[in-house]
């Protein structure tokens, strides 16, 4: 994972949001979406830091998510606690839900509603979720919201 603190250091709040938003959108357009998870988590974190309306999503919420790529190249632990989001490159069994994915594109296809190809995801066995699915649904809402907001498609 890249260093978010360093990436936004010296930037104003608006600029930081803009830069990470751009990075997130760019990751969606990339053919392999290799950086999708990294960009999503980084943008999510910065939104929680600077956007009180979005932060409301995790107020009073405790949840631990393990994301890992099938090839072992990515293993990220995401913790939500006391209105804060922590991202660590590590594996843990003490989580509410574990998401194993084939590649970034597969994870994107699984998480985001827009242009989703559900059948492809299922047929290619692209994403396997283990644990409490409801935590995944919540994360799915937060991820979709970001994309809809950035693309001006919120209802």
């Amino acid at each position: 994972m890249f260093d978010i603190e360093r990436f936004i250091s010296g930037l104003s709040m608006d600029k930081a949001l803009e830069r990470l938003g751009e990075k997130f959108l760019k990751s969606l357009e990339d053919e392999t979406a290799e950086t999708f998870l990294e960009a999503l988590l980084a943008f999510m974190k910065i939104k929680f830091m600077f956007d009180p309306a979005y932060r409301k999503n995790i107020e009073g919420f405790r949840g631990r998510y393990q994301f890992r790529s099938r090839d072992g190249g990515v293993a990220v632990l995401v913790k939500f606690e006391d209105g804060d989001m922590k991202i660590r490159e590590q594996t843990s069994d003490d989580v509410n839900v574990t998401v194993s994915f084939k590649d970034g594109r597969a994870l994107m296809n699984f998480l985001l509603s827009a242009n989703r190809d559900i059948l492809r995801g299922l047929l290619n066995n692209e994403v396997v979720v283990a644990g409490n699915l409801n935590y995944m649904y919540k994360f799915g809402f937060m991820a979709n919201h970001l994309q809809l907001e950035l693309t001006g498609n919120l209802p």
């Binding site: 999503n57 998480l111 509603s113 409490n132 649904y137 919540k138 919201h145």
Partner: protein
């Protein structure tokens, strides 16, 4: 008793019933909207008022009293009956402890999705996201069962989708409540009985549990009575400001009806209908409506109808009231997230109404109301209710069968037909008394169940038979889940040297899959016992009051669990192809067969595929080989499921009806030894694969001669007849002949491919075109593309030649 001369009621038309016409137009013009009232009330209660120290039954009783007392009384259109399932014209109900949270990721897109969008406001999205859903992630039936059982393998397998679905994560449903109790006694009398039974008990531990149950019944029923009182007050309020004299009078009458029922015993047909409707609404607050069926309404309501006719009610007025009831039943749609839509979409709530047949003494029970209900069905052509007609050869009248066929021709898709003689035999074979068996109704799609006294959860398991076939071919692995060892390790098919060895491997994999899904169903049932008792359903189920037990603890007189098998004909044809070509004729090796299906029967294997497909050894033909394999498979499934006990002490039964699951599971499944290509839909229900059973009489013979006593959860034989060849006598004769051979159930689409193709291309031209899917009816436009394709390519028979019309 039948007293009317014109069984078709030709004088009763929609033009002469303008109210029904307008309500029908409104129904089709309305987009379903998500309603947050129920999850709001449930969540608010659980957060602030629930007492975890109470027993599960008592908690449920208090909760549903609160839910019903706080349910908004809505009277928004000119329907003559009061009460609505949701606060919307057509609402989508969310059950937070079942699967409501599955829509969470899509809350901000669901109103704009391409297929079957649901309306929702910005405020409702916020309320669900911030206030309602966050309470539930650790409290749903699915997650409680997972937690209590350490995330067992059986549940992890379900989450891979392709093996089976256990529907207890969605509902406690697929049953027929005892509505006769509602109209013969009224809720106050049931409440009084619960009170008396409670007071008669001592202080033992067992007595305390029963006391809690009786208290829960009283609490929830008092909630229903409060809701009716609120409806009455709302009708009075609206009447007071209504300027139209006729409408004001209707509202005042509605207020009087709701003052009386369902608390008291109804006096009129209208009161009886409204009493049942209010109870149905209440049951629907307690549980998702997944085939919460209505039973034999023509029998239950006949005394009220007959009395009113004597008092001057006209047939047209009766049809109008029934039509109002039918439209009320259609006032909601089930929640379906995108994945559900993609794979299994288009289903309604599958609320079956059962008409005709014989009474408990075995006498013809068809009456004037049967025909009035058929007329309302014919006029409205709605997806719900799913109308099921019972027919007893040589007891039921021929003119009744003719009328049923006429309605089917005019509507294109309803009713479906059940053979009383076979259904009664099925039920008595499961230990149901003869009188109770004769009083059966259809649940959901097609499942026979003794009315109001059976908790059979007849659709609790939907199992993909082809997934066991896959595992038999690949030594316990499945192509979709790749290298994972899912089932037990059996010898890979390429190493098998006899057909017997292959069958043994298939039995091993089927047996293992059945173990898994039964374990899961029982785990989920115990989760229901922990967090979701059902006092309202229990109050309206024979047996519960006597035993002092909730339905989910085995309170009903009869207890069972029903498992529907998906892909029967595809598996039989695949097994038969392996027997014929690999082991008997040795036309190719098992290795070649495996390579062919791995290559999706592509170019090097086209000749082999043509050979397999051209073979007459198929399900639905005169083939002895296919028959023997079908008998073996059906026998094995029945015996294995029957050897298991459910969490209520009942047996598992097996059925062959598929809703839209044959298309969904088919879309996930690779090519099969039968010659079927990757992703093609499976054959529906107990129907032969399209193109494999070219002769209608052979097809009917084949299915009729299967041992229906081993198909205790019912079956759906889906046939399509070419409209131009479907005359009444020919149509009726095929049904009569099928039933006399022992056939259990059959249903028809009387529609040609050209119309269906046009409807697929121009859905806006066919907003109300409805079709039989596999058990129930659906609007064609709502079905997903796989399902539309399956209906279009489904075998279509020409009744003049008796042969299948070739597709393409």
């Amino acid at each position: 008793m039948v007293t009317i001369d014109d069984l078709s009621l030709k004088d009763v038309t929609l033009d002469r019933l303008p109210r029904l016409k307008r309500l029908r137009e409104l129904h089709f013009a309305t987009r379903p909207e998500i309603c947050v009232e129920l999850p709001r009330n449930i969540t608010s209660y659980m957060k602030h008022l629930d007492n975890p120290a109470d027993s599960p039954e008592l908690r449920a009783g208090k909760l549903y009293k609160y839910v019903m007392e706080n349910k908004r009384p809505v009277i928004a259109d000119e329907n003559l009956l009061a009460g609505t399932t949701t606060a919307r014209t057509i609402g989508v109900v969310l059950y937070p402890d079942f699967m409501a949270l599955s829509i969470w990721p899509e809350l901000e897109t669901v109103s704009r999705r391409k297929k079957n969008p649901f309306g929702i406001t910005r405020e409702e999205i916020k309320e669900l996201n911030f206030d309602i859903f966050p309470y539930w992630p650790d409290h749903t039936v699915q997650e409680v069962a997972k937690r209590d059982n350490g995330n067992p393998l059986c549940q992890r397998i379900m989450e891979r989708i392709v093996f089976y679905i256990a529907t207890k994560v969605y509902c406690i449903s697929h049953t027929v409540p005892n509505y006769a109790m509602v109209v013969e006694r009224g809720l106050l009398d049931i409440l009084r009985e619960a009170r008396e039974r409670e007071l008669s008990l001592g202080g033992s531990k067992e007595a305390r549990a029963k006391k809690d149950f009786y208290q829960a019944v009283q609490l929830s029923l008092s909630g229903v009575i409060s809701y009716a009182a609120n409806l009455s007050r709302e009708a009075e309020r609206l009447a007071a400001k209504e300027v139209d004299t006729k409408r004001r009078q209707e509202l005042l009458e509605m207020a009087e009806v709701c003052k009386r029922v369902p608390a008291g015993r109804p006096r009129t047909f209208r009161e009886a209908l409204n009493a049942i409707w209010i109870c149905k609404i209440a049951l629907h607050q307690e549980n998702a409506n997944v085939a919460l069926s209505l039973g034999r309404l023509d029998q239950v309501l006949y005394p009220f109808y007959a009395e009113d006719i004597k008092r001057g009610l006209t047939l047209a007025e009766a049809v109008e009231l029934i039509g109002c009831f039918w439209l009320k039943i259609a006032d909601h749609v089930p929640l379906s997230p995108e994945t559900g839509e993609e794979l299994f979409g288009g289903s309604g709530s599958n609320q079956a109404v059962t008409l005709g047949g014989v009474d408990m003494q075995g006498e013809d029970a068809v009456n004037d109301l049967t025909y009035a209900m058929l007329k309302a069905t014919e006029l409205l052509r709605l997806r719900d209710p799913n109308v099921n007609a019972r027919y007893y050869p040589e007891v039921s009248k021929k003119e009744y069968l003719d009328r049923l066929c006429e309605v089917n021709i005019n509507t294109g898709a309803t009713p479906c037909f059940h053979n009383d003689a076979s259904a009664v035999e099925v039920l008595t074979g499961q230990g149901v008394s003869l009188e109770h068996a004769r009083d059966y109704s259809s649940v959901g799609c097609v499942e026979p169940s003794s009315s109001g006294r059976t908790y059979g959860h007849t659709g609790c398991i939907l199992m993909n038979l082809t997934s066991a076939l896959e595992m038999a071919l690949w030594g316990g692995k499945h192509r979709l889940t790749e290298d994972e060892q899912i089932g037990p390790k059996t010898k890979p098919a390429v190493a098998m040297t006899s057909f017997g060895e292959f069958k043994k491997a298939l039995e091993t994999q089927l047996g293992w899959l059945i173990d898994q899904v039964v374990t899961l169903n029982n785990n989920l049932g115990r989760a229901h016992q922990e967090i979701h008792p059902t006092p309202m359903l229990s109050a309206l189920m024979e047996g519960c009051m006597e035993k002092g037990k909730d339905v989910i603890y085995g309170g009903a007189t009869y207890n069972s669990s029903g498992a529907a098998m998906i892909g029967l004909a595809d598996v039989v044809d695949s097994v038969t192809a392996i027997q014929e070509f690999v082991f008997d004729k040795k036309k190719f090796t098992m290795a070649e067969m495996i390579s062919a299906i791995n290559a999706n029967w592509s170019v090097p294997y086209k000749k082999l595929q043509a050979m397999v497909k051209a073979s007459p050894e198929k399900f639905g033909t005169d083939s002895r080989m296919a028959r023997a394999n079908a008998d073996w498979l059906i026998g094995f499934l029945h015996d294995t499921f029957q050897s298991k006990e459910n969490y209520r002490g009942g047996k598992y039964t097996v059925g062959y009806w598929t809703m839209t699951n044959h298309a969904g599971f088919g879309a996930l499944t690779g090519a099969l030894p039968s010659g079927r290509m990757k992703n093609e839909p499976f054959a529906s229900g107990i129907t032969p694969v399209s193109g494999s059973a070219p002769v209608l009489t052979s097809c009917l013979n084949f299915v009729a001669r299967l041992d229906h006593t081993r198909i205790a959860d019912g079956h759906a034989l889906n046939l399509k007849y070419t409209p131009s060849t479907t005359t009444l006598p020919r149509f009726a004769n095929t049904i009569e002949a099928f039933f006399k051979m022992g056939g259990l159930q059959v249903q028809f689409n009387i529609i040609d491919r050209k119309t269906l193709e046009d409807a697929r291309k121009y859905p806006e031209k066919y907003p109300d075109l409805f079709v039989r899917v596999s058990g129930y009816t659906a609007y064609f436009k709502d079905l997903n593309p796989h399902m539309q394709q399956e209906i279009i390519t489904r075998a279509e028979y020409d009744l003049v030649t008796g042969e299948e019309q070739k597709y393409g």
